[in-house]
C-alpha cells in the first residue's frame, strides 16, 4: 500500500513538473520579439556639422553621413547618445550602440579578410550578405539639435524622431526649444532638452507598441521572380483561373490581421505589399516576425502550387520572397 502511494506521489510529481515546464515554455514563447532601437545623428545634423563624405552616384554628387567621424569628433553627440541610452535603459529598453555596431562591423570585416582555409580559400560571402549585416536595428531614433543665439542668451532646438527601419514610417517625435540661458553651455542645454522631452517621446513609442500588440506588427513583403527560372513561372502565371499574384493576395487577405495590407505595386516580376499587419503570435502561440510570416507564405506556395521559393531575412519588419528557384 505504502509503495503504491509512493509511486502515485512520484507520478504526480513528474506530471506537475512537466506541466510547470510546459507553462514556463509557453510564457517564454509568448513574448513578442523585442525591437532593437539605435540612435543615429540625422543626415541634416551630419551635413550641417561637416560629418559627411561625398559620393558620385550616377553623375550626381551625393553627401553621405559619416557616422564614424561624427562619433570620433563630436563630444556633444556622444553625450546625447549616452544620455538617451541611460534614460531608455531606465525604462528597461536599452539601445543598440551605433559606435559599437560600427566597431563590430569593422572587426568582423577584418577577421573575414584574414580568414583562409588550409588550401588558401577565402570565406564565401556574397555582397548581399555584407549589406544585410549592416541593417541591425528595427527602430531608428534620428537625433538632431542646433544652438540658437538671442543676443547674449543661447538655447538649443532639439528633434528626436523614431522611424520604423523597414516601413520608413515615423513612429513618433519630440521636438522643442529649451529655455534660453546666459551661462549654460550647449552640452548642458542639450542634456536638459533630452531629459525634458523623453517622457513625451516614450509615450509615443508606447502608443506604437500598444497598437502593434492590438492590430499586429506592420511589415513589408517584397515578392520577386528569378529571371528564366527553372520552374518557368512569374507572377502572372495562371493556376486555374487565377494569376499567381492574386493567389498570394488571397492568402494575405486570410492571414493578415483583419485583412490589412495594401498592394503598392505589381508586375509580372515584382509585387510589393506594404502596411501588411501580421499577427504577433502564430496559431501555436509562438512569436512571429516578417521572416516567420514569409516562411508560412513560402510553405503555402511550395505545398499547394509546387513553386520553389527563396526567403530572405531583412529583420523583424521586412521579408523578400524570390520565386522560381531556391
Amino acid at each position: 500500500m505504502f509503495n503504491v502511494e509512493c509511486l502515485m506521489f512520484k507520478d504526480m510529481k513528474r506530471y506537475i513538473f512537466s506541466i510547470a515546464l510546459a507553462l514556463v515554455a509557453l510564457v517564454a514563447s509568448a513574448q513578442i520579439k523585442k525591437p532593437e532601437l539605435m540612435v543615429i545623428p540625422s543626415d541634416n545634423w551630419c551635413i550641417q556639422n561637416g560629418f559627411y563624405t561625398e559620393v558620385e552616384n550616377m553623375g550626381m554628387t551625393v553627401k553621405v553621413p559619416n557616422y564614424k567621424q561624427a562619433l570620433q569628433e563630436s563630444m556633444g553627440l556622444k553625450l546625447a547618445i549616452a544620455k538617451l541610452n541611460d534614460l531608455m535603459a531606465e525604462r528597461q529598453f536599452p539601445l543598440q550602440s551605433l559606435e559599437q555596431t560600427i566597431k563590430n562591423l569593422e572587426q568582423r570585416r577584418m577577421e573575414d579578410n584574414l580568414t583562409t582555409s588550409k588550401a588558401g580559400n577565402e570565406l564565401a560571402e556574397s555582397p548581399l550578405d555584407e549589406v544585410a549585416r549592416t541593417a541591425k536595428c528595427d527602430i531608428i531614433l534620428e537625433l538632431s539639435w542646433e544652438q540658437k543665439n538671442f543676443g547674449p542668451k543661447h538655447s538649443v532646438s532639439y528633434i528626436l524622431e523614431a522611424r520604423d527601419a523597414y516601413t520608413g514610417k515615423s513612429i513618433g517625435a519630440s521636438a522643442g526649444t529649451g529655455a534660453p540661458s546666459f551661462s549654460a553651455d550647449v552640452d548642458v542645454l542639450l542634456e536638459e532638452a533630452i531629459v525634458a522631452n523623453m517622457d513625451n517621446f516614450n509615450n509615443r513609442l508606447m502608443d506604437h507598441f500598444t497598437e502593434m500588440q492590438e492590430i499586429g506588427r506592420e511589415i513589408v513583403i517584397d515578392i520577386k521572380v528569378f529571371a528564366n527560372n527553372a520552374a518557368g513561372i512569374d507572377l502572372e502565371t495562371e493556376f486555374g483561373d487565377e494569376e499567381l499574384v492574386d493567389i498570394i493576395e488571397d492568402w494575405l487577405q486570410k492571414n493578415t490581421v483583419q485583412g490589412r495590407f495594401s498592394r503598392q505595386y505589381s508586375s509580372e516580376n515584382v509585387a510589393n505589399f506594404t502596411q501588411v499587419r501580421i499577427p504577433v503570435y502564430d496559431e501555436r502561440g509562438r512569436a512571429i516576425d516578417a521572416n516567420g510570416f514569409a516562411k508560412q507564405l513560402a510553405k503555402f506556395l511550395r505545398k499547394d502550387f509546387n513553386i520553389p521559393v527563396k526567403v530572405m531575412v531583412k529583420g523583424l519588419g521586412r521579408a523578400v520572397l524570390i520565386l522560381g528557384e531556391k
Binding site: K34, R91, A196, M206
Partner: protein, 168 residues
C-alpha cells in the same frame, strides 16, 4: 468654582467644533481634487527623474494645507498632464487610459487617502506660495516637485499603467 464647571465643557466643545471643521475642510478639499478642481502648470525645468509643477488649488481660507497641494500635484501628473511654453515642455498624463481612475478606484482611494502613498512622491518647494482672491475663494499657487520616475514605477508595479517593455 462655577467658572471652572463651565470652562471644561466649553473647551471640549471648541475642540470638537474645530476638529469637525477641519474634517469638513479636508473632505471639501478631497472632493475638489477628485473633481479635478485645481490647475496644474509647468513650474520650470526640473532635475532628472522629477517634474516641477505649479499647482493652483481653491480654498475658503488662504492657508490651504500643504498636503492637499501635494495631493493635487500627484493627481495632476497622473490624470491631467500639463501644458508647456516659455522653455517648458508639456507633458501628457501618466495614465494614458482615461478609464483607469474608475477601473482602479480602490487603489487610488487608498493611494490618495490622508497620509496615503502619494506623499512619498511630492514635496513642496519652499517660499513659493502665490495667493489670488477669486470671488469668495482664494486661489493658492504652490510649486511642487513630483518624483515622476518613482511614481511611474509604483503605478507600473501596481498594474495601473503599462511598462514600456510590456509584452516583449
Amino acid at each position: 468654582m462655577h467658572m471652572k464647571k463651565f470652562l471644561l465643557p466649553l473647551l471640549v466643545l471648541v475642540a470638537c467644533v474645530s476638529t469637525s471643521c477641519d474634517a469638513v475642510r479636508q473632505k471639501k478639499a478631497n472632493k475638489d481634487t477628485n473633481e479635478y478642481r485645481y490647475e496644474i502648470e509647468c513650474g520650470g525645468n526640473a532635475i532628472q527623474g522629477t517634474y516641477l509643477v505649479k499647482v493652483w488649488s481653491y480654498s475658503r481660507t488662504p492657508s490651504i494645507a500643504e498636503n492637499q497641494c501635494r495631493k493635487n500635484a500627484v493627481h495632476g501628473v497622473i490624470f491631467k498632464g500639463y501644458g508647456g511654453g516659455q522653455g517648458c515642455v508639456s507633458q501628457r498624463p501618466m495614465a494614458n487610459n482615461p478609464g483607469v481612475e474608475t477601473q482602479f478606484e480602490d487603489y487610488f482611494k487608498s493611494f490618495f487617502a490622508t497620509g496615503g502613498e502619494f506623499q512619498k512622491y511630492a514635496s513642496i518647494v519652499g517660499g513659493t506660495t502665490d495667493v489670488v482672491k477669486v470671488g469668495k475663494e482664494y486661489k493658492v499657487g504652490v510649486l511642487v516637485s513630483v518624483r515622476k520616475d518613482d511614481l511611474r514605477k509604483a503605478l507600473e508595479a501596481a498594474g495601473v499603467i503599462r511598462r514600456l517593455n510590456a509584452g516583449f
